[in-house]
């Protein structure tokens, strides 16, 4: 059931995207738990405000939007930031203040917080304004390893990773191209 629901929501995301809007990724419970809208993940932030955490997940998806990646990959990357913020007060301040500024800008433009902006283009426009700053760079830099060095994500991109234990690719398709 869970999986069917996920699929339904993912296809809804694709549908909404073509209409110029995307599904918002997460909600925060009164108990402070961040819940994925696709019900595939949840997080209990240890350092960051849960609202901040949820906004960072949305922001992470907006920075490297891969429609075939479930939100849990972005949430896992933000969990790394949360862990970093636990031991690095400066990082925590950067993230909390950065999200606050982002929300303020969204409020000024569309009378809603960042996560309330239904149109990806509106959110990206706000990110463009801050892309050279330390807050954006902290979130983006974290994603370079948070997303692309996540071994669970590799098969989704068609990357097979380690091969030496399997004898390399000499018998496993290093020259199997058939369309040239």
């Amino acid at each position: 059931m869970e999986r069917a629901g996920t699929h339904h929501l993912l296809s809804r995301r694709s549908l909404l995207k073509t209409a110029g809007a995307t599904l918002i990724v997460a909600a925060v419970t009164p108990a402070g738990l961040v819940l994925g809208i696709d019900r595939a993940w949840s997080a209990a932030p240890e350092a960051l405000d849960p609202e901040t955490f949820a906004t960072l997940v949305q922001m992470s998806r907006d920075i490297y939007p891969h429609d075939q990646l479930e939100d849990r990959f972005y949430a896992a990357a933000v969990s790394t930031l949360d862990a970093g913020a636990k031991s690095d007060a400066g990082l925590k301040t950067t993230l909390e203040d950065g999200v606050a500024v982002l929300d303020k800008s969204a409020m000024a433009a569309k009378s809603t917080g960042y996560r309330g902006l239904a149109d990806e283009a509106d959110r990206v426009a706000l990110l463009k304004d801050i892309e050279t700053g330390p807050f954006f760079q902290a979130v983006r830099g974290n994603l370079v390893t948070g997303i692309y060095n996540n071994k669970e994500a590799w098969p989704i991109f068609g990357y097979e990773g380690e091969s030496a234990s399997k004898g390399g690719y000499i018998e496993r398709g290093f020259d199997d191209i058939d369309w040239l």
Partner: protein, 522 residues
């Protein structure tokens, strides 16, 4: 395995164990010369290698503090990482791709061949191709270079087949799987390539030549070579006559040790070698050792580089197999009608997904960038590597205030692209895209230079002492028993990957050093 006493004044000390130092160490040991290699990094054998980009990067890269300046994009994207080189026994032969090309005849004399180029500090090598040819032949045999010595070429991977198809369609003639120091069949006690990929992470099959498991064990087996890992040389010492007498190094516990020496050969790659000479300044040599010309650290070259990645409708899986076994040499000629002097090679290249995301266009983000990575398994890739212009202002210098973990000033690496470098890169990008467009690419991407893997020229060879740091044997003009044994000797860079030339020079230098010792000159 030999161990030599710290007070043994008869040993030759080599600083660094890569293509230059590791080769020189074995060659001297084979001639019966007592040799100590001091290597700043640790000794990671083949079983320590991982097919995993970031963990291996963390394990073997030179990550000590360095700073950058200049207009090159690396200074913006990777401000603390000017070079992507190795700090470990074997040096950068652990992570090198294996491309083994001779410099071309005219590339030894570009001041004569190209004429004056504004802003460039051109100089002819004090060596000719003819003089180096016998040593190239020995280097090719040592490395087991494919397409030499009757060794067949490597088989073509998917990435090569796309590259070859496009090359033929645009009319390139000289396209093949390269001259590679990777066994295409068993040789020298090592097996044939298994097409593992991950050449940059250390070859787990040992098919690729590296000083780590080829030269160094052979040298150690003679009883004449000792390799001391985790030993970072801080200063070269000299006596009142101006001859070097030994080195001070930090051992694995950070304690300073003094190793005496009959001669010292510096092979720390083109950032650390000049840094060490500059950090060894004394009352007698206030500008650093071997620096009467003022050229130590100057004329830093890194090759004109760039990459083209192309996305196709159908899968390529470029990461499967040998990383760089593919070359087009048609553009390597000197043909000023293209709008620049010198030439460039086009070579296949693949990165894994983790490195691709970091290097494809550093700092970029958004849907267009993500869409390219969505097609990672439909990508083919090539690297462009060509001759860059030596410029005196491009230099490795000592930072005024920043110090490393041993209290020594860190190096700053300054680089500005020369207009010729930019014109060549633009041309190479256009031709790279043309190759892939001809093969049916739906999108091509121009990737800016990675942190430098080919670091050259900062202790250059010259005929006259006032023009450079070392003579045609790598012997410093100023101090007869002080040598430079790495790519920092290069007077100019040529278009070719430098390792084969570094090895050929090391073989030649070993003969010279042994001869000079036997004659009592050093």
């Amino acid at each position: 395995m030999a161990t030599f006493d710290l007070n043994d004044t008869g040993v030759v000390v080599i600083i660094g164990s890569g293509a230059g130092g590791g080769t020189l160490g074995n060659e001297l040991a084979q001639k019966g010369v007592k040799t100590v290699i001091l290597e700043a990094g640790g000794r990671h054998e083949i079983q320590d290698f991982e097919n995993d980009e970031w963990p291996m990067f963390g394990k073997i890269s030179w990550l000590d503090k360095r700073t950058t300046s200049g207009t090159w994009r690396v200074a913006k994207d990777f401000a603390g990482l000017p070079a992507w080189i190795v700090k470990a026994v074997g040096g950068s032969t652990v992570h090198w791709a294996g491309a083994s090309l001779r410099l071309q005849e005219h590339e030894f004399r570009i001041k004569s061949a190209y004429g004056d180029i504004a802003g460039a500090n051109l100089l002819d090598w004090p060596l000719t191709l003819a003089e180096l040819e016998p040593y190239y032949a020995r280097a090719e045999d040592k490395l087991g270079v494919t397409r030499t010595n009757g060794i067949p070429g490597l088989p073509g991977s998917n990435n090569f087949k796309v590259f070859e198809a496009g090359a033929k369609k645009v009319g390139y003639k000289d396209v093949h799987t390269g001259r590679m120091a990777i066994n295409s069949e068993p040789r020298d006690g090592r097996g044939a390539c298994l097409q593992i990929g991950f050449c940059f992470q250390g070859c787990q099959s040992g098919a690729k030549w590296s000083t780590l498991y080829v030269e160094i064990p052979k040298g150690e087996a003679t009883g004449n070579l000792e390799v001391r890992p985790d030993s970072q040389v801080l200063k070269i010492e000299h006596d009142a006559s101006g001859k070097v007498t030994g080195v001070v190094y930090a051992d694995k516990d950070g304690n300073q040790q003094q190793q005496k020496a009959r001669a010292v050969c510096v092979a720390g790659n083109s950032i650390e070698s000049p840094r060490l000479l500059l950090n060894s300044a004394s009352a007698m040599f206030p500008d650093g050792l071997a620096n009467s010309s003022g050229q130590v650290g100057k004329n830093y070259m890194r090759h004109m580089t760039g990459s083209v990645y192309a996305i196709f409708d159908k899968p390529v899986h470029m990461y499967r197999g040998t990383t760089m076994a593919g070359i087009i040499t048609d553009e390597s000629k000197h043909d000023p009608s293209r709008g620049f002097v010198g030439g460039y090679e086009m070579e296949t290249l693949a990165l894994g997904l983790p490195f691709m995301s970091a290097f494809l266009n550093p700092g970029d983000w958004g849907r267009e960038f993500a869409a390219a990575l969505d097609k990672y398994d439909h990508m083919a890739g090539m690297w462009l590597v060509g001759e860059d212009m030596p410029q005196e202002k491009n230099a490795v210098s000592l930072h005024a205030t920043e110090k490393d973990q041993h209290g020594m000033p860190v190096p700053n690496v300054h680089f500005d692209d020369h207009p010729n470098d930019i014109a060549m890169r633009d041309h190479a990008f256009e031709r790279g895209s043309a190759v892939y467009d001809a093969a049916g690419a739906v999108r091509t991407l121009h990737t800016p230079p990675y942190p430098s893997t080919h670091n050259l020229g900062t202790n250059r060879m010259s005929e006259r002492a006032q023009d450079g740091v070392v003579n045609k044997h790598g012997q410093t003009h100023d101090i007869p028993n002080l040598f430079v044994s790495d790519g920092s000797q290069f007077t100019t860079g040529g278009a070719e990957n430098p390792t084969l030339t570094i090895v050929a020079l090391a073989i030649r230098q070993a003969e010279y050093v042994a001869d000079q010792m036997s004659k009592g000159n050093i």
